[in-house]
Symmetry: C2
Subunit: 689 residues, 2 copies
C-alpha cells in the first residue's frame, strides 16, 4: 500500500466523532500538578514535597490529509492558536472556521497555553482531530497525539472533573449545641448548605472519627466561611463548599442568627464498575472484602491516592499495590494509566519518584503488571523511552560492587519501620532486578533483541550477586543490607518476600524462608498494611492460606471491631482509644482511609479465588482456588477479556470464564489436576472427592 | 567566627528594605515564556518554535534567624503558601501576619503557583526576605534566592512592565480618506485613542515603512477593535490598545460614525542611560552612530530581541552581538543577565538554543564577555553548573574525529547565506574552542584546577585539530567544512574571522587571511549586518580602519539614504524600491529595526575610540584610538568602574578615565608607546608629532 493510499484509508475509517488532542502525557501531568496541592492541614496548604512537573505550554500538531473536495472545518483550542498549510508558517490563520483546499496537504496548528494544557479540537465532514494526529513539544519529537474521552468541543480537557452525587447524612445530633453530622461511613466530597440565612461565620470541623470532628483544636480538616458571602454563591438555594474533604463526621459551628434548612453533601467519585465479588462462609471476611472495595474506591480518583484525607498525593509504592487491587476489582485502566504517567513525570530525572529510591523501582514492576493484566502493549510502547531513561537513571546509582545504594538525597523507604537502610539494601536489588526483567520483556516485544538481552543479563547478574551476597544459609534468609562491603547481620522479612514472589529463590530456599523468616516470631513483625500486603501474598504463595485468613480476621477485623468503615494507614492492636488516630506526632494525623489498607481484595481474588494471568492480557490464565479452611466461597474476578467466576466448597469447584484460555488447577487424591475451562462461558465442575 | 555569630552579623547588616524572592532564574524564564509568544503575523499568533521553559510551580524557601526578642512579621506571596518553623512541617500557618518566637529558628515557606512564578515577601523589624534566603525546587538544590528590584509588597514580580511615555505623531495626513500617522521614526508601543466615540469597527495597519502601512493586504502588523467595547475600557477618556507594536506609520480605517479627537501612543522602553558618545569629523558617521544607538535601544527590552516587529524572540547569536554593543553604549547589565538566563533555560537539553548549534556555542562566549566587561563573577558562579551541563551536551556531539557536527535535528546556521553546512563546519569548531576556553577560565576562578585544565586541554586539542584539518596554505585561509573525513574546497570568510578575533592564527596566517580572504573579492561577500558585524571587527583588528569606515559609510549609510530611521535585518544595495522590505517570501517580511544592524556602536567604541578591557571588569584596560582617516573624533565608552573619554585629532590624543588601571597605546615616529592613564580622572594628552 502506498503512503497516499494509507492516508485515504485512514480518512475512510475515521471515527464519526472528533476528539480533543494534546501532547501525550501532558493531560495527566497537568492534572497531577493540580491534585498534588489539594492537601490542607487545618485549612493550610501542604503541597507535595517533590518537583511537580508541568505541561508544555508551547506545542504543535500536524496531520496530512487528502480530500477529494474542499471542506469547511471548525477549530477550537485551549490556548491561542494558529494554523497553516504545507509548512508555510508565515501564512497563518486563527479564524475559528476555515475552508481547507482539496488535495493532499499537511495541516499544522501551533497552540500556546501557559495556564491549562494546550489542546485542539477540529471538526469537519471528514477531517477531525483524533489520535492519528501528531504532536510535538518542539524537541524533535513528533508523536501520536494524546486523547481520551473529550469528544465535545464545549468540554475541553481542563474541564475534567470527577462525578458527583448528592448524599444525605445518616444522622444529625446536637453536641454542645452544634449539629454533628454523621454520614454513616467514611466519605469524600463537598458539604452543601440548603437555604443558608444570616451573615455570620460558619466553622466546620471534619472527622474521619467522631473524636476528630469533636476536637476543634486538633481535627485535621476544617472549613470556615462567611454565610453572607456564601449565600451569594448559592445555586438553587444550595451553597456547596469549594474544596472536597475526606470525612465521616462534620461538626458545624455557626454564629448566632446564621441558619440553614439542612446540610447534605456532594459525594465525589470515579464511576467505576464493581466487577469483582467475593463471598464465603465467614461473614467477617465478607465484611472485610466489602470494606476493602470501598476503601479502594474512595482512593481511586484522578489518580490512585495514598489516602483521601492525607496525603492526597500519588505515591508510587502505594500505587503499586492499588494497581494490583484494581485488577481484582474495578479493572479501571484509565486511573491506572493516569497514575503511571503522572508518576513518571518529565525529565530531567534528578530525584527519585516521591524522593524514594524504591518508589522509582516499583514503577517498572507496575508497568509490567499493567502489561500482564491488560495486554495493552500500545501503552507500553508510548512510554518505553521514559522507562528506559528512568532505568538509566537508576543504574547510574550502582556502587563499585554493582549494587544500587541510596544517594545522600534519596529516601530508602522499604517500610514504615525502624530499619537501617544504609548501604546496599537487599530489597532494593531485588526490585531493580525485577525492573530489569520488565524492561527486557518490553524490549523483546519491541523487537529489540539487543536491548532485551542486555537488560536480561543485567537482571541475571544482579540476582546472582544479590543471592550470593545476602543469603545467609545458617539463618535461612536474605539479610537486610550491606554497608562498606560487609553484609550486616540484620534479618528482615522484606527482601525475602519479594524474592519469593518474584521466583528468585530455589524451592529449598523458599522452604527455609517460610519457616525461618516469615513464620519466625523472632524476626521483626510487620506493622503496616503496606507491607502486610506483600507478607500475606508471600504466605499465600507458600500455601499458608489458613494462616493468612486468621491474620486477615485479626488485623483487618481488628480495625472493624474498633469501628472502622474503611481501612487505615496503620493499625497497632496494642494502642488504646484515640491513640489509634495519631501518627507523625499529630493527634489525628493518621489516615483512616488508606488505599494500602484494601489488600484483601488482592488476596481473595488472586490467592483464594486463585485467578492469575499467565500471559499478557489473560491470553492464558490459571484458576487455582484455595478454601484456606473456609466452608465455601464464591466470587468473580474481572479479566482483560471478560471475567472468571468461581464457586467452591470442600466437595467441588465450579468455574466459568469468558475471554482467554483458562485452566483450572486443583489437587485431588494427592495429585495436581489441570482442566481447561470451557471457552463458551459454560461452567466447569470438578469434584474434589 | 562561629555560625551563630555569622547569623547575628547578617541580621545586623540586613538592608533596610525587604525584597521579593523566588527560585533563581525563574523570573527570567517565566518572562521569556510570556515574551516568546508576543509575535503576531497579521494579527495571528506566531509563537517561537522551540521548547519554552517554565518556572517551577512548587518551591520552598528557608532562612535561619536568631532574634533576641519575638517579632511580628507580615507575609505576602504570589501563590498559595504555608510557613512552618524548625522543620515541623505538620504545623503550618498561612496567616498573613504571625509572631516569630525569639531565639534561633529555621523558617520554611512553601509557595505554589501554577500561573505566575511563586514569590515571597516577608517584612518584620529585623527579619526580611532578601538574597540571603535560600530556595529549592525540591531537587536537592538549596540555592540563594533570586531577587531584583521588587521592594514593594504591592508590586510583585509578575507585575513587571517596561517603562512607558506618551508620544505624539510627527504628522497626520489623510490618505484615501483615512488618517495616516507618522511618528517620524521607528518606534514601539501602544496606540491610544483620545475621546473615542461611536460603535463601529476600527482597523489599524501598521508599517515600519510607509509602503507597508498603506498595504492593507500585506502589512505585517495590524489591529482591529470595536469602538463601543473599546470605549468601555478607556481610562481618563483614553483607550490604549492592549498589544504593543513596532511601527513608524499607522493607517487607521474606521467605520462611519466612529470618531476620536486624536491618536497618540505610549512608547514602551527600558529606561537605559546613554552612557557612550561618539562624534567625528564625518557627519554621516555621526548619524550612523546615533541611529545605531536608537536601533539597539528599541531592541533592548525584557530581553535583547532580534527585531521589534519580527521575530520579537530571543536568539542567542543575535544577543551575542547585542551584548557587545551594549557594553559600548548603555552597559545595562539587567537586560544582559535576563537574556543570558532565558537563553540557557532549563534541563533537559534536547535541542540547541533556538534549535541552532552555533547559538548554543555563542552563549559560552557571551558569558565570557559578560565576565570580561563587568567583572561580575558572582553571576558566573550561579550559572556555572548550567554552563557545564550545556558544554557536556555540546561535547557529546563530537564525531569520531573529535569535531562537532550538527545532528539531523540541528540547524547549523553560520549566516543567512547559501552555505553548505553539512559535516563538520570550521566555524563551529572555533566557537566551541572559544567556549572551552571560557569554561576553563571560569573553572580556574572557581578554584577547580582539574576542570580548568581539562577544558583547557580540550580547547587546545580542538584548536590544533581545526588548524591542521581546515587550513589551506595555498589559499591562505580556513576552509568552510569537512564531510565524510574530507575537507571540502569551499572557502568562506566566517571561520577566518572568528579564528582571527579569538587569536587562533599566527601573525603570518593573519596576514594571509586579510589579503587572501577578507579583502579578496573572489571569496563570497557577506550580505547580512549579522556577519558584517564580525567582518568589520576582524578588519579593524587587522588595522584596516580606513577600509572599514568606507564600508560603514556605504552599507549603513546606504540604508539611511533609503530613508531608514533604524537599521535593518538585511540590506542589499542592488534591490529597488519596496523590494528592500521583503524577506522570507513575505512582502513586508523584513525587520527594519534589527539589533544586529547596530554594529557601528561596537566598532566605533572598541576599534576607533579603541577602548578594550584586558582583565575582568576593566581591572586593566587599554585605550588605543584610531582615526582611520577621520580628521578628528571624540567620545565616551562606559566601563565597569567608570568611563573612558577620548578626544583625538591628527596631532594629539587626549584621554581620561575613571575606574581601573588604563593605559593609552599609540604609535609615534614608528614606535608603539604606552602611557598609564591617570587614575584621578584627569586628562592625559599625548602629542602625535
Amino acid at each position: 500500500m502506498t503512503k497516499q493510499e494509507t492516508i485515504q484509508e485512514t480518512i475512510k475509517t475515521k471515527p464519526q466523532t472528533a476528539t480533543w488532542i494534546w501532547y501525550p502525557g501532558d493531560f495527566e501531568i497537568r492534572l497531577h500538578e493540580k491534585m498534588s496541592v489539594k492537601r490542607r492541614a487545618r485549612g493550610v496548604p501542604y503541597p507535595a514535597y517533590w518537583r511537580l512537573d508541568r505541561h508544555y505550554s508551547n506545542v504543535k500538531f500536524r496531520y496530512t490529509y487528502d480530500l477529494p473536495h474542499e471542506e469547511q472545518i471548525s477549530i477550537k483550542a485551549e490556548g491561542s492558536y494558529s494554523l497553516y498549510l504545507d509548512g508555510r508558517d508565515n501564512y497563518r490563520s486563527d479564524e475559528p472556521v476555515i475552508t481547507l483546499p482539496a488535495g493532499r496537504h499537511e495541516i499544522s496548528v501551533s497552540v500556546f497555553n501557559d495556564v491549562e494544557m494546550p489542546a485542539l479540537f477540529i471538526e469537519g465532514p471528514n477531517l477531525r482531530t483524533d489520535a492519528t494526529w501528531e504532536a510535538t513539544s518542539y524537541q524533535n519529537d513528533w508523536v501520536s497525539a494524546g486523547t481520551w474521552t473529550f469528544e465535545s468541543p464545549s468540554v475541553p480537557p481542563s474541564a475534567f472533573r470527577l462525578a458527583v452525587a448528592p448524599q444525605e447524612p445518616a444522622s444529625v445530633e446536637e453536641v454542645q449545641g452544634h449539629p454533628l453530622l454523621d454520614f454513616g461511613r467514611e466519605t469524600f466530597g463537598y458539604l452543601r448548605f440548603h437555604n443558608l440565612q444570616g451573615k455570620g461565620k460558619v466553622r466546620i470541623y471534619y472527622g474521619e472519627s467522631m473524636s476528630e470532628a469533636l476536637s476543634i483544636a486538633e481535627c485535621y480538616s476544617l472549613d470556615r466561611f462567611d454565610a453572607g458571602e456564601a449565600a451569594l454563591q448559592a445555586e438553587g438555594g444550595i451553597y456547596t463548599l469549594g474544596a472536597a474533604k475526606a470525612f465521616r463526621y462534620a461538626w458545624i459551628h455557626a454564629d448566632p442568627g446564621t441558619t440553614w434548612d439542612r446540610v447534605s453533601m456532594l459525594y465525589e467519585y470515579v464511576p467505576v464498575t464493581y466487577r469483582s465479588a467475593f463471598e464465603c462462609s465467614d461473614s467477617k471476611l465478607n465484611e472485610i472484602y466489602a470494606m476493602s472495595l470501598y476503601t479502594l474506591h474512595l482512593n481511586t480518583r484522578e489518580f490512585f491516592l495514598d489516602g483521601i484525607k492525607r496525603d492526597r498525593w500519588v505515591w508510587s509504592g502505594d500505587a503499586y499495590q492499588a494497581f494490583l487491587m484494581n485488577y481484582y476489582s474495578f479493572f479501571d485502566l484509565d486511573v491506572t494509566r493516569r497514575t503511571l504517567i503522572a508518576l513518571r513525570g518529565k525529565d530531567p530525572l534528578v530525584m527519585h519518584f516521591n524522593t524514594i529510591l524504591d518508589y522509582s523501582l516499583y514503577w517498572f514492576v507496575s508497568l509490567y503488571d499493567y502489561y500482564l493484566y491488560t495486554g495493552d502493549f500500545a501503552f507500553i510502547r508510548h512510554y518505553y523511552d521514559r522507562a528506559a531513561s528512568l532505568m538509566d537513571f537508576c543504574l547510574a546509582q550502582r556502587n563499585e560492587e554493582g549494587l544500587v545504594e541510596g544517594r545522600q538525597q534519596d529516601w530508602v523507604f522499604v517500610d514504615w519501620a525502624d530499619l537501617d537502610n544504609s548501604g546496599a539494601v537487599s530489597t532494593i536489588q531485588i526490585l531493580l532486578a525485577r525492573g530489569l526483567e520488565a524492561m527486557s520483556a518490553f524490549a523483546a516485544e519491541l523487537d529489540d533483541p539487543v536491548a532485551s538481552g542486555s537488560y536480561r543479563s543485567l537482571a541475571e547478574e544482579l540476582k546472582a550477586k544479590t543471592l550470593s551476597l545476602f543469603w545467609d544459609e545458617a539463618r535461612g534468609g536474605l539479610l537486610h543490607h550491606r554497608a562498606d562491603g560487609v553484609t550486616q547481620p540484620m534479618l528482615t522479612k522484606h527482601a525475602n518476600m519479594f524474592a519469593m514472589t518474584f521466583g528468585y529463590l530455589s524451592p529449598a530456599q523458599q522452604e527455609r524462608v517460610i519457616h525461618s523468616v516469615m513464620l519466625n516470631p523472632e524476626v521483626p513483625q510487620i506493622r503496616t498494611p503496606y507491607m502486610r500486603f506483600h507478607e500475606m501474598a508471600t504466605l499465600c504463595e507458600s500455601r499458608q492460606h489458613d494462616h493468612v485468613l486468621q491474620e486477615v480476621r485479626d488485623y483487618w477485623g481488628g480495625m472493624i471491631d474498633l469501628g472502622a468503615t474503611t481501612f487505615w494507614e496503620e493499625y497497632d492492636p496494642s494502642l488504646a482509644d484515640d491513640a489509634h488516630y495519631g501518627m507523625y506526632g499529630v493527634t489525628f494525623g493518621k489516615s483512616l482511609c488508606h488505599a494500602w489498607g484494601a489488600g484483601p481484595i488482592y488476596l481473595f481474588g488472586k490467592y483464594f479465588l486463585g485467578v492469575r494471568p499467565l500471559s499478557a492480557g489473560y491470553g492464558t490464565f490459571v484458576v487455582e482456588p484455595q478454601l484456606g479452611g473456609l466452608g465455601w466461597m464464591k466470587g468473580t474476578v474481572p479479566t482483560a477479556g471478560g471475567e472468571v467466576e468461581v464457586d467452591m466448597d470442600a466437595s467441588r469447584i465450579r468455574v466459568r470464564a469468558t475471554g482467554g484460555h483458562g485452566v483450572l488447577r486443583y489437587r485431588k487424591g494427592g495429585q495436581t489436576i489441570e482442566s481447561p475451562i470451557p471457552e463458551d462461558g459454560s461452567w466447569l465442575e470438578a469434584s474434589l472427592h
